[in-house]
Symmetry: C2
Subunit: 95 residues, 2 copies
DNA sequence: TAGCAAAGTAAGCGAACGCTTACAACTCGA
DNA sequence: TCGAGTTGTAAGCGTTCGCTTACTTTGCTA
C-alpha cells in the first residue's frame, strides 16, 4: 500500500500487528519501545522518530520501497509532481 | 530501492535532490523546513520527525510503498521474518 | 452479566528536537 | 588562483519527545 502520511503508517502497523495476532505489549517489547509509544504511533503521531518507525516496520516484517520520480513518469505518462502544490499545503502548525 | 534505515532515506533524498538539480536551501524552503534540518536528514538523522520525512519524499516526487509480510512470503518462498534477531539488535543508546 | 486482558489516557522527567543566526569549509567555473 | 555559491558546523532557545507509573475504559469470552 502507498504510504503518504503518519496516519497511513499507523493504520498499516496496527492492522499488521492484529493480523499477526500480537498485542501492543508484546510488539512493543520486541521493538524495544514503550507500549505508550506504540499506542501513539498507531494513532498516526506525526512527530515520532523515523528510526523507531522503521524498526517497527522491520519487526512486523513489512518492507518499504521507494520509487524515485523518473520511474513514475516513465510508468505513468502524464503523471507530474506538483512541488508547488505540496508546499502550498505547508506544514501544519506544531501542537 | 529498499528503505531499511534513516541513512537509506538520507542517501535517497540527497541523490534525488541532486538529480533534480535543487540546492539545499531551495528544497528546504519548498518543504517548509530549515536548511539545517535537511543537512541532518541527508546525513541519516535517526530521530527526525516521520511527518517531515514523508513531506520531503513527497516534495521530491518519491513514492513509498509498503509490502506486508504475507505478500513477501508468497512472493519469496523461504523468506522468513526473524523478529527475535531484529530485537537483538536493540535500539542504540540515545545520544 | 462478570471478569480478565488489552487498549486508551494522564502527569512529570531528562533528553533531543527544529529553529535562527553566524561563521567556516568546500566545490566549481571563469 | 579567485570568488561566488553551496554545504557543513556550532550555540542557545522554546517545544516536544519517549519514558515510567498509574489508572480508566473497552472488548471479548465464559
Amino acid at each position: 500500500m502507498r504510504i503518504r502520511t503518519p496516519a497511513d503508517l499507523g493504520t498499516l502497523i496496527r492492522s499488521t500487528r492484529k493480523k499477526l495476532q500480537l498485542d501492543q505489549s508484546t510488539l512493543a517489547k520486541k521493538i524495544g519501545v514503550s507500549r505508550l509509544w506504540l499506542v501513539e504511533i498507531e494513532k498516526g503521531k506525526p512527530r515520532a522518530e523515523i528510526g523507531l518507525v522503521l524498526r517497527t516496520l522491520d519487526a512486523l516484517g513489512i518492507s518499504l520501497n521507494a520509487t524515485p520520480p523518473e520511474s513514475q513518469s516513465l510508468n505513468r505518462p502524464g503523471s507530474t509532481v506538483d512541488i508547488d502544490r505540496i508546499v502550498a499545503t505547508a506544514r501544519e502548525p506544531r501542537k
